[in-house]
């Protein structure tokens, strides 16, 4: 069988295969120095300088590696900065509080559980309303001061700030929703009961729609939202997936979190974290922890990791080199993994064999 889709996959496979063989070559005079690379990353390059940098890196393995290394440190470095973080979040305090309140209310008031998307919609509506009010306040300020130019700059800054915060807000909303779903699961299945997965689960409509999309290989943009969606669709799954890249075990004190290829472990509910080596460099995208010692992680390029003692990880063989977007697990042997293009593969022997569903 040789379909157009399979040919596309072959091309992608060919491109991915290249990662296996490193190519030795040295630095040249035109290689980017660290200062230029940093300027590029921080948006300090423009025009000819930026074009020159991009053109060079397009063909230079060393500089590509440097760019890759920089990207791998982005997520980790971006984590703390408490002061700046607080300052950036301050304008969002009200909408986030409103969002949290909406979610809490929704959880507290019993309703129809068959329509779980409603709170997220409400939250988004609240947020949208709040967003809609902000520019008008800016305009008022401009009108009063009469400093049109300064006001425009301030408005542009505000817009940039808003754009920068939007993903964080989305992630936060995803986290809130995932927390709600977690509580639902806990209410439906008290303690750590393992429920069997449905025999022939139909992929959720959203996932099916993704599979039909042209850019099928694209990994999900928001792992938290993806996790929440998966959790929503997976009645009877014990592994808990939350947003913000945290994987909470049935005992909330025990949890893991992922950032890029880095995995951290917490035994005090997330107050402190310890990095745990995994030996892989691929970006991890999702995880599921069916017990306090067992955790499954998945990532790009068919990476599947499993720990059965909470701290040491082993790579589980996966039959495809493809981006993985989600995982559900009931124990150390049984797990279902979703690929970025919407397919689901399951194992019931700890990853020795995989079956397509």
């Amino acid at each position: 069988m040789d379909t157009s889709r399979e040919r596309d996959q072959s091309i992608e496979r060919l491109l991915r295969q290249s990662l296996q063989t490193p190519r030795p070559d040295g630095a040249t005079d035109s290689c980017l120095d660290a200062e230029t690379l940093a300027a590029w990353i921080d948006g300090g390059l423009s025009g000819a300088a930026l074009e020159m940098a991009q053109t060079h890196v397009a063909d230079c393995a060393r500089c590509q590696s440097m760019v890759g290394a920089m990207a791998r440190t982005n997520a980790v470095v971006a984590q703390p900065e408490p002061e700046r973080g607080l300052r950036r979040w301050l304008p969002w305090l009200v909408p986030l509080t409103a969002a949290a309140a909406a979610v809490v209310l929704w959880v507290a008031v019993p309703g129809d559980l068959s329509t779980p998307q409603r709170p997220a919609e409400e939250v988004q509506t609240q947020t949208a309303k709040t967003n809609a009010q902000e520019p008008s306040l800016d305009n008022q300020g401009q009108g009063q001061t009469g400093r049109a130019e300064t006001g425009a700059a301030s408005s542009a800054d505000k817009k940039a700030e808003t754009q920068a915060i939007a993903p964080e807000l989305r992630k936060e909303v995803g986290r809130l929703e995932a927390d709600r779903l977690q509580r639902q699961d806990a209410a439906a299945a008290p303690a750590v009961t393992l429920r069997s997965a449905p025999a022939a689960a139909t992929p959720p409509a959203a996932v099916a729609a993704e599979a039909a999309a042209p850019a099928a290989a694209a990994p999900p943009a928001t792992p938290g939202a993806e996790g929440a969606r998966l959790a929503r669709s997976a009645n009877g799954v014990v592994g808990t997936i939350t947003g913000a890249n945290q994987i909470v075990s049935p005992n909330p004190s025990i949890r893991w979190r992922i950032a890029g290829s880095v995995v951290e472990h917490s035994t005090d509910g997330g107050s402190s974290w310890t990095a745990v080596p995994t030996g892989i460099a691929a970006e991890l995208t999702a995880g599921a922890a069916p017990s306090t010692l067992v955790c499954w992680l998945v990532g790009r390029g068919g990476v599947v990791l499993l720990t059965t003692d909470g701290r040491t990880w082993r790579r589980v063989a996966f039959p495809e080199i493809t981006d993985l977007s989600a995982v559900r697990a009931t124990d150390a042997r049984t797990a279902s993994v979703s690929t970025a293009d919407g397919r689901i593969l399951t194992t019931s022997d700890g990853g020795v064999t995989w079956e397509r569903r």
């Binding site: 596309d8 070559d25 990353i41 397009a58 440190t73």
Partner: protein, 291 residues
Amino acid sequence: MPIDGKLVDRLYRQASAERWRVPVHRFAEALEASAGHERAGAQSGELERYLTALHLEDLALACACAAGDESAWEHFILEQRPFLYRAADALDPGGGARDLADSLYAELFGLRDRAGERQSLFRYFHGRSSLTTWLRAVLAQRHVDRLRTNRRLEALPDEDSSDALPAPSSPVEPERYRYLELIRQTLERAVAHLPPRDRLRLACYYAQELTLAETGRLLGEHEATSSRQLARTRRAIRDDVERQLRGECGLTDAEVAQCFASVSQDAGPLDLKQILDVGSGRKESAPDRSS
């Protein structure tokens, strides 16, 4: 390149450079070095815009640290060390990059005296990025160079065999290896024909395994655009490969199908990094746009 005194004073205040007791002339030298490095300042307006956009507070801190100001050093260590260590751990979760991070401090402090003057690594910081990003870039550069050096020191396979496909472990049809070789060559050419920006996007996504968001950020485009462009590039590569297989290699449709089928089983060690480098030879023959 002398900078107007009033502008220097304004930038000095903006940088809060007096906090670290940085002499104004030292700060002015740093500004001039930065402008000279960027070759900015053909017109005074352009120079002012460039200088105003710099990370001035970080530049002042770097000046003070380079001069050995104790309170500046204390502040620098306190602020930057956690970032540096986290970056090192992200580069090598096994802790192997921490020694690189530690060794940076010695160079930043400037132990090597030259003509009685301490030469600090800070002199390479020009304020076009934050100090944190610059430190990460220096660390990333050291890390990558060390990896590449170690790789060179490892026993490399023979030159002749490094690109060769592995010997089949079991007798298989020779046609399959012919197809693999053909598709490998055509893919190489197809990638070389792409514009540099498309090759960069491919390299980021497939060779460096950046996410779409990271790739987009680097290329100054939205991640959805990166996704679309990647899909478009893949389609273009596939079309080019098919065209070459039919036209230049003279394969029939059935044989082209077999080429793709052979890939779906096992492509062998194909090196996109090597393929992407093909473009560099082509590009270097083009007029140099860097001067």
